[in-house]
């Protein structure tokens, strides 16, 4: 799942490669966590800017995706709400047609009853294919708590 960067690869190339390989994963995680398309786009941009700022000191041999996701979650929780104006053009990564947009509103509404942890835990494990242990690591919780969150999420969605 991680980039197998070579030792001779420049830091800039590693950064670009990390973007090409993981940008969508970061976006999808941000979307799962926030349930908000525009915020997920902004968080993705901000997470990569953090990676850029740390590109010289970061250990590129360690899993970059995990670093990006943890950074994204921290940004979403602690700081991002205060960042204005938006860091990215809202239209830069938008759905191409109205049917997608309407479907997104529908999905978003369906998932609104879940907490961020429940939503991210469910999507990471059931959609993105992460193991419970991997997802718990990124979400910085225990595997037991993650399993409970997934279970609660399923119950909430099935009750309706």
């Amino acid at each position: 799942m991680e980039a197998d960067v070579g030792v001779d690869e420049s830091v800039d190339m590693r950064y670009e490669r990390a973007y090409g390989r993981f940008a969508k994963d970061v976006f999808r995680f941000a979307l799962a966590w926030t349930n908000d398309w525009a915020t997920a786009e902004d968080l993705t941009q901000e997470a990569y800017l953090r990676l850029w700022n740390h590109r010289a000191s970061i250990d590129w041999e360690r899993p970059i995706l995990g670093w990006l996701l943890v950074t994204t979650r921290r940004l979403a929780n602690n700081r991002f709400r205060s960042l204005h104006p938006r860091l990215t053009a809202a239209g830069s990564a938008r759905q191409g047609d109205e049917s997608v947009s309407a479907r997104w509103l529908d999905v978003r509404h369906a998932l609104e009853s879940l907490t961020s942890l429940e939503r991210a835990a469910l999507i990471m494990t059931a959609v993105e294919g992460w193991s419970y242990a991997e997802a718990a690591d990124v979400l910085q919780t225990t595997e037991g708590a993650l399993r409970a969150a997934v279970s609660r999420a399923r119950q909430k969605l099935e009750v309706a």
């Binding site: 990390a18 860091l87 309407a102 999905v107 369906a110």
Partner: protein, 243 residues
């Protein structure tokens, strides 16, 4: 299988999330994008200013301050924003165009509606309305409220959440906007069912029409369906604007 509804939602989530289109280039702060270029520009400007001074070509008092080496390059260098990815349309709307759209310059296009999933005893519905600008170029600002009405009743304002990614658009002559208007409501209780608290004090029932207020007048839309119950507040209606 009791998981069918969850799986349906997750499948839809996967499908919609797959539609995202990421910018092909990774974000980079401006400050690191062209430091050498900025330095060279600054040096060049200093040389030009000095040369002009020596040759007695005096400059206006504001010249060096406004365009000299200490102003623009320093601002650019201190910025931490990523390289701009705004569209020309958006730039134009924010910098040049301040003529608000009026209702009379729009004609209604196709209207479609689709039910949502609904959750926990609720239902939802999404109406997509095409609006074509038959007037001059204008700026369409998404309103914080919309007016709703029954088939024969008066319009009443209700809060509307912006569920999209932008709150305004520059609309060219002849161009069309697509507006998605969503609403959710609690399902009616069955006789003998468990009572639930009403969603708000005085909900508006059987809504079939929506009016989008603009600078002058409003665009009235027939939903083609009935929204059982809409609250003025908290918001039960969402708006999404697409170019």
């Amino acid at each position: 299988m009791s998981d069918s509804r969850t799986q349906q939602i997750l499948n839809e989530w996967r499908s919609v999330a797959d539609a995202v289109v990421m910018s092909p280039a990774p974000p980079r702060p401006r400050s690191t994008a062209a430091p050498i270029g900025i330095a060279l520009t600054a040096v060049s400007l200093v040389v030009i200013v000095v040369a002009l001074s020596i040759r007695g070509h005096g400059m206006s008092p504001q010249g060096p301050a406004a365009g000299g080496p200490g102003s623009t390059p320093a601002t650019a260098a201190s910025s931490v924003l990523p390289v701009a990815t705004r569209s020309p349309t958006e730039d134009a709307s924010s910098q040049e165009l301040d003529v608000a759209c009026v209702a009379s310059q729009f004609v209604l296009g196709k209207t479609t509606n689709a039910p949502g999933f609904g959750t926990l005893g609720t239902a939802s519905n999404f109406v997509t309305q095409q609006l074509q600008n038959v007037g001059d170029r204008c700026h369409f600002n998404l309103p914080p409220t919309v007016d709703v009405a029954t088939a024969t009743g008066p319009f009443e304002p209700v809060s509307a959440v912006n569920a999209g990614t932008r709150s305004s658009f520059d609309v060219a002559p002849g161009a069309s906007l697509s507006m998605v208007i969503g609403a959710w409501w609690q399902l009616p209780r069955e006789p003998g069912g468990t009572p639930t608290a009403p969603p708000c004090g005085d909900p508006i029932r059987n809504v079939t029409r929506v009016r989008i207020p603009l600078e002058s007048g409003g665009v009235e839309i027939a939903l083609g369906t009935t929204w059982y119950e809409v609250c003025a507040s908290p918001p039960h209606v969402s708006l999404t604007l697409e170019p």
